[in-house]
């Protein structure tokens, strides 16, 4: 009997718990040249904004120890072209589509979600709160009250599940998590990237034109696990674990800490077939231990004391 990898998040079934993370898989077209997207539990599309964006000038990616820095600047085709040109491509695949959206004011999120309401292919939306909020002058991601309001506003217009994506650059992520739950979020995904920097010691210029960028990859995995573990104890809604996942062992760690599904980001750059390999290895891990499904691992870490 092969073990069951399917999971359920907010009443929606995923064939397996492996999603590709926003900004690391485009809108799916390129990865489809490497493997069949139907093999994925889901695909989280690159953050969409109301208007198309070219993003920051190069260099916008830098290599780091066991990871990388990026400051792409939310380059994307804009919601209109996304709906017309990108979403239809995903029709033919048996996978969940989560559309990640971002804006600079509360209304942007609401407008984006509203535009996606009739797109049945958008199974869920994921709210990327890591942009500076032009009204409030700070990231929604770092302010519990703003986050709660934003989630609640989107929930009013979007009829399907809403995921709030949390930033790790906060003193207490559990506080933000509880606020999103209070706002009506159906699930949480964490973590987004850690703020980081790198400088070229020959030119004295930062390695990114944005000066700072987001750190991702295996380097941040321990931070992500600690945060998933903390948030798991703070909320009732399911958690999607993100951060440095590179192999099946990492997925198991995230599940044990409280994840109900995971997203793979940076590892796709280094090993685009990672999700396929992970799926195979997960099945092996489960069956070798006589575990019937992966769901029962969620939150099973045996914390001391």
């Amino acid at each position: 009997m092969t073990p069951d990898l399917s999971v359920e998040i907010a009443g929606t079934k995923f064939n397996n718990p492996i999603l590709t993370a926003s900004g690391t898989c485009g809108y799916g077209e390129e990865l489809a040249d490497v493997f069949n997207l139907s093999e994925l539990g889901g695909i989280v599309t690159k953050t969409i904004t109301l208007m198309p964006r070219a993003g920051h000038p190069p260099p916008r990616i830098a290599e780091a120890s066991a990871g990388m820095l990026n400051a792409i600047g939310l380059a994307n085709v804009g919601v209109d072209r996304f709906i017309e040109e990108k979403l239809p491509f995903l029709e033919k695949y048996d996978t969940r589509v989560v559309v990640n959206i971002a804006g600079w004011r509360m209304k942007d999120y609401v407008d984006l979600a509203a535009r996606l309401t009739d797109c049945q292919r958008a199974d869920m939306v994921e709210l990327n709160f890591s942009c500076p909020n032009v009204e409030m002058g700070m990231e929604i991601a770092t302010n519990a009250a703003l986050a709660e309001k934003a989630v609640a506003a989107v929930k009013k217009v979007f009829p399907r599940p809403v995921i709030a994506k949390l930033s790790p650059n906060v003193t207490d992520i559990a506080e933000i998590a509880r606020a999103c739950e209070a706002g009506g979020a159906d699930a949480l995904s964490l973590i987004n990237t850690l703020v980081g920097m790198a400088v070229d010691i020959e030119t004295y210029y930062p390695r990114l034109t944005n000066n700072t960028g987001g750190l991702s990859g295996p380097a941040i995995k321990p931070v992500a696990l600690a945060m998933v573990h903390k948030v798991y104890q703070a909320v009732e809604i399911p958690i999607i674990g993100i951060g440095g996942i590179a192999d099946y062992g990492d997925v198991i760690e995230f599940f044990l800490c409280g994840a109900a599904a995971v997203q793979i980001g940076t590892s796709l750059f280094v090993e685009p077939t990672a999700p396929i390999k992970i799926m195979k290895d997960l099945k092996k891990y489960l069956s070798e231990r006589g575990l019937r499904n992966i769901r029962e691992l969620t939150g099973q870490v045996r914390t001391y004391q």
Binding site: C25, G26, L31, D33, P58, E63, G67, L268, V270, P272
Partner: protein, 263 residues
């Protein structure tokens, strides 16, 4: 599906071309038959602690043995580690990636301009042209470097029967000066209807691009950019387009029509 594969190949041979240049043969690669000149592979350099893959143009293929050759120069940590791999070692590669060159018409003279480590795709292009029956006499293979030692595998290129015009900045071999000057001289001598192909350092490509514009010569350049993913999903390898916006060198390129990209 254009069929990009991620595969384990074996190191068949590491050949020291001297002065920091190496030729590496990897096999078997299942997609060896579909590789076009100008395409590249993305190599997971084994055991060196660099996080990203490293991109290398396909230098040669052997369809029989399903092997791929690359030529590289030791520059930084990744290539230094690559120079240390042992025969028989397993190596994960991703490919074939990127666009290839479009072929010249029979009536055109193909002017190939290779600068330094831009040689490999030019070689493969020349080889394919010759194999497809293109008159080797109508292929001018310009190959420039700082000094003699930068011009590797010259004998092998000459074997194709193309005209090889070496150029070295220090004059230690062939034309003395920038390879672009050698090209300009040859074009001035007027080899008739011409199509240019170029791969090399950015300043060289910029000059060729301008030359092409000025003389209204069609052709293509193959560009380079740091490439985290190589398949178009990270948006890291961008260059500005003349028409506005950015292009992803790994997927929309690395081969572009002259004048398309702001080099």
């Amino acid at each position: 599906m254009s069929g990009i594969v991620e595969e384990y190949t074996m190191v068949i041979r590491v050949f020291d071309l001297k002065r920091g240049y190496f030729r590496l043969t990897l096999a078997p690669f299942s997609k060896v038959r579909s590789i076009r000149p100008g395409q590249f592979i993305h190599v997971k350099v084994p055991n060196c602690g660099v996080y990203f893959r490293r991109a290398f143009s396909v230098y040669d293929v052997d369809r029989q043995n399903r092997s791929i050759d690359i030529v590289f120069k030791v520059l930084g940590r990744g290539t230094a580690a690559l120079a240390r791999v042992c025969r028989g070692e397993s190596m994960n590669i991703l490919g074939p990636l990127g666009s290839g060159f479009t072929m010249p018409s029979r009536r055109e003279t193909a002017v190939l301009v290779a600068g330094g480590i831009g040689m490999p795709p030019m070689y493969l292009l020349a080889r394919c042209l010759v194999e497809k029956g293109f008159n080797p006499e109508k292929i001018l293979f310009f190959y420039g470097g700082n000094e003699r030692g930068d011009l590797v595998d010259l004998a092998r290129i000459r074997k194709l029967g193309t005209k090889v015009i070496p150029a070295t900045v220090d004059g230690s071999y062939g034309f003395k000066g920038m390879v672009t000057d050698a090209v300009a001289e040859a074009l001035a001598a007027g080899p008739g209807r011409v199509r240019m192909y170029a791969c090399g350092p950015e300043p060289m490509l910029r000059t060729i691009d301008e030359m092409a514009k000025l003389k209204e010569i069609p052709g293509q350049v193959s560009l380079e950019a740091p490439m985290p993913c190589g398949i178009g999903i990270c948006l890291g390898c961008i260059k500005p387009l003349r028409e506005g916006g950015y292009t992803r060198v790994c997927r929309d390129g690395p081969v572009y029509e002259m004048g398309k990209v702001i080099i």
